[in-house]
């Protein structure tokens, strides 16, 4: 088969959204003409469009940029890949230089809106999407961005109406059902959400967003999870900067209030406050994996989960349950060994919290490191339990230093493990 027909076949496959087949043909074409930037571009594109292959695409688009640094299509593709990898800050310069040449290109503008979406800057998203829609009223990605922007700014009535209109115009469109699904989730209509996501998947079974939505819908059958989802959406309505301010504000509150309360003779309240705060943080991080456990008991929902999700949710739920059990047991018994139960329960809960970062991480090494950290903490927890059983009698010093070490390491870990070093390459 000659090279030009390979390219032709590849294009045919791209038109039919058959990215993997297109990739095959482009690879063949590249073999007979390894220096062609054009073929490399198409190959990169076909890989980028396949699920979970973004990293491969990125390394190809990097070499492509070296061949054709000024080509705007290459810049656009590179930016898009970076955006899907949530590396929006790196993507911006490429987007800008491509936009400088083509300021009205709808796809480029949508990529810019995606940049703002990742930074939770919903006003900008809405504005850019409106701009695109004024020129191309049917632009599918712009419609979705517009709807998401409305929804996450809390204008749920508007977004619901918008999605409803689209759906009544074209009920065979998977995107419209997906949009309705998210709106229904946000307004708490779990049953409707489930139906719309299922319908979207029937039309487009491989859509990762609808699959994610369906899982959210299944998890939201649980009221505690719905609360969490509300909280998430509420947090998402702030830009990233504000989100940090909220978290830090709460922390300050927890630090500042206790002495004041103590002065007022309400010392017991201050400990409660600190525990409530910690509990809240742990809850927001572990709610999703724990929610997944509930899916495992549903015959239909079970298969929507991936293997990795099943494993992570099993581990995190076990740790959290052990933690809650220890803490509650300790609080009820209230005696001196009770305090030890609380300590080991707290350690277990801390592990559940830290492990969420391990499972989120894209780096195998980070996973191993965090897991080792947790195993160390659990060993402490076991040692503490051994003390209550009289199997192990350390000197009092040991307790103080172990407790301090664990506390600090959990605190440091909870910040460190969220950083780029641990999460992304």
């Amino acid at each position: 088969m000659s090279e030009s027909s390979s390219i032709e076949y590849g294009r045919l496959m791209m038109q039919r959204h058959r990215w993997a087949d297109a990739e095959k043909h482009f690879r063949q074409a590249l073999e007979s003409d390894p220096n062609s930037a054009e073929i490399l571009y198409m190959l990169t594109y076909s890989i980028f469009l396949q699920e979970k292959r973004e990293k491969e695409a990125l390394s190809l688009s990097k070499s492509l940029l070296e061949l054709e640094p000024d080509e705007e299509h290459v810049q656009e593709l590179h930016a898009k890949i970076l955006l899907t990898l949530h590396r929006e800050n790196e993507a911006l310069p490429f987007l800008q230089s491509a936009l400088a040449l083509n300021p009205e290109d709808p796809d480029l503008l949508c990529s810019l809106a995606t940049y703002h979406q990742l930074r939770m800057e919903w006003k900008e998203v809405e504005q850019i999407a409106t701009q695109v829609l004024s020129l191309y009223p049917e632009h599918s990605q712009a419609l979705q961005l517009y709807n998401t922007a409305l929804r996450l700014q809390g204008k749920t009535n508007d977004s619901l109406e918008h999605a409803g209109q689209l759906l009544s115009r074209d009920a065979g469109n998977a995107h419209h059902h997906e949009m309705m699904g998210w709106n229904a989730l946000q307004t708490g209509d779990v049953k409707q959400a489930e139906l719309h996501f299922l319908e979207s998947l029937r039309i487009q079974p491989n859509s990762p967003y609808s699959r994610e939505g369906l899982k959210e819908a299944y998890r939201s059958r649980n009221p505690l999870y719905r609360l969490y989802f509300k909280h998430q959406m509420w947090m998402a309505s702030f830009t990233a900067k504000y989100q940090w301010m909220i978290i830090i504000g709460l922390l300050v509150l927890v630090r500042v209030l206790p002495p004041i309360l103590e002065d007022m003779g309400l010392g017991f309240l201050s400990t409660t406050l600190i525990y409530a705060y910690l509990g809240f943080i742990v809850w927001t991080y572990t709610c999703r994996p724990i929610g997944n456990i509930l899916l495992l008991f549903d015959t239909k929902a079970r298969h929507a989960l991936e293997r990795k999700e099943k494993i992570s949710s099993a581990i995190i739920t076990t740790l959290a349950l052990l933690g809650v059990w220890g803490m509650l047991g300790g609080l009820i018994s209230g005696s001196a060994p009770g305090l030890l139960y609380i300590m080991s329960g707290g350690l277990s809960l801390g592990c559940a919290f830290l492990m969420t970062f391990a499972f989120q991480s894209q780096k195998p090494l980070a996973f191993v490191f965090i897991s080792l950290h947790c195993i160390l903490l659990l060993l402490f927890a076991v040692a503490i339990l051994a003390v209550t059983l009289g199997l192990f009698l350390p000197d009092p010093e040991w307790f103080g230093s172990t407790y301090r070490f664990s506390r600090t390491s959990i605190l440091v870990g909870s910040i460190l493990y969220q950083t780029k070093w641990f999460q992304r390459e």
Binding site: M1, Q15, R16, E31, K62, S63, E66, P205, N206, H303
Partner: protein, 454 residues
């Protein structure tokens, strides 16, 4: 150029396309040692990479290690690669070793595989008096003796020039050549073979014989093989259409060619018309932008319709690994109304595949069954890759000692651990279709295979 590529490689040393670019750059700048290293790297990453294998041998040859190149080439050719460049290079190496006769047959073989790979300079060296024009097409199988042992050469219409069209054939394979898969064979017997063999029985009930059967399943699991074997089981004519022929119809928007194909089947009935990768032809019209494509699909739908009396006695057999890309209209009664799932080979089949594959290789006596057990979820193609890896290992031993040493069980077991089953990707995607788009129970067998019910 080479420097910038090298930098890019430092950033991502495992990037195969980049390595390929770099190896070519090395060749251009006559850095053969580096070229060799680069191709070796590619082979480490992807042991089945034909271009790399060829490139590596070429690097050896170019740096003057002709006999080493020759040894490696011999090992490769014994597996009969369908890779024209390999035969071309073999011809060049044979010429360097003054084996004119071999060089000639390798060169012919290369041209058989790819008519476009002609090389003027080489041709002049091989045929000082000019190359005699191509002979008329030869019978099915012909064995030619070469210094590397017998090389069987099959004339395969799929690999010939693009303009040539399908011809009638009688596949040599039968169900005996397909290992395991008893359940599937039984289904094919019931749904395909008996009707064609006993048409009068069907007529008595007012039913017509023919129509369409669609086989689907993960890649490399024997769909093509079992289709050919099906034809070999019965006394019917077999017409096979390859992917390239189909794609060329697309590019040329050639409804005429499609019609001619069906006419040929009708004139030779009872006949099986086998369309491999049928999703390319029966594409979903919703995915089509231009109307040109739709016309071809509509034509195919019309040709297939069994209400058309002319189709009596013509069985249309389609194989695909993405049934979800097929236009739903093709599954209506009278078209592909029988749909069969071809799962990854079961234990029996895996053992049979291994047996077939080790047949003419120097292999230590070993327990193939336990090896087959290790190959859970492997496709036939994965097992081929496994054997290639083990062969490479044995070959490098052989090169050290200078004599043929058999492939050991240990090498095979190690290779089985290295090769990752390729069917899991297919199931990841099939799972979504089976769970969310399982209209009329189309994918029930997939759900059953995966252990998902309801």
């Amino acid at each position: 150029m080479r420097e910038s590529l090298k930098e890019a490689l430092n950033a991502s040393p495992d990037n195969i396309p980049l390595l390929v670019l770099y190896a070519h750059a090395c060749e251009e700048e006559l850095e053969f040692a580096e070229m060799q290293e680069t191709w070796e790297r590619v082979l480490q990453l992807d042991p089945g990479h034909e271009q790399a294998r060829c490139g590596l041998i070429q690097a050896l040859y170019l740096s003057g290690k002709v006999s080493e190149a020759s040894v490696r080439m011999q090992a490769w050719l014994s597996g009969e690669p369908r890779y024209a460049a390999a035969w071309l290079l073999a011809a060049r190496i044979a010429l360097a070793e003054e084996q004119k006769h071999e060089a000639r047959s390798y060169y012919e073989r290369a041209l058989d595989l790819d008519g476009n790979c002609r090389n003027e300079g080489l041709e002049k060296d091989i045929f000082p008096q000019g190359r005699p024009e191509a002979k008329p097409s030869e019978p099915e199988t012909e064995r030619r003796m070469t210094s590397f042992g017998p090389v069987s050469i099959r004339q395969d219409e799929e690999e010939e020039g693009e303009s040539s069209f399908s011809e009638l054939e009688r596949p040599q394979q039968s169900f005996a050549d397909v290992g395991g898969m008893e359940a599937l064979k039984e289904e094919i017997r019931m749904k395909v073979l008996y009707p064609l063999e006993n048409p009068q029985l069907f007529e008595a009930y007012g039913k017509k014989v023919g129509g369409g059967v669609l086989l689907y399943g993960p890649p490399g699991c024997g769909k093509t093989l079992i289709s050919r074997a099906t034809a070999g089981e019965i006394d019917a004519n077999f017409i096979s259409v390859s992917l390239h022929e189909v794609l060329d119809m697309w590019i040329g928007s050639s409804e005429k060619q499609l019609h001619a194909l069906f006419e040929m089947a009708r004139q030779h009935k009872p006949a099986v018309l086998f369309i491999d990768e049928v999703d390319a032809l029966a594409a979903d019209r919703r995915d089509m932008r231009q109307s040109g494509g739709r016309t071809l699909i509509n034509q195919f739908l019309a040709e297939m319709d069994s209400s058309n009396d002319a189709n009596d006695g013509v069985l249309i057999l389609g194989a695909t690994n993405s049934p979800w890309h097929i236009d739903p209209a093709f599954r209506r009664p009278g078209r592909f109304d029988r749909v069969l799932f071809v799962p990854p080979p079961d234990l029996e089949a895996r053992k049979a595949i291994l047996e077939i594959m080790v047949q003419d290789k120097p292999v230590e006596k070993l327990d193939l069954k336990s090896l087959a057990k290790l190959c859970k979820d492997f496709s036939g193609a994965d097992m081929k890759a496994l054997l290639d890896v083990a062969t490479e290992a044995a070959l490098s031993e052989a090169m050290k000692s200078g004599r043929v040493v058999p492939i050991t069980g240990k090498q095979l077991l190690k290779a089985a651990k290295q090769v990752k089953p390729s069917t899991s990707d297919w199931f990841a995607s099939a799972k979504n279709y089976a769970m969310y788009a399982n209209q009329s129970g189309l994918y029930d067998s997939v759900l059953e295979y995966m252990g998902i019910k309801g």
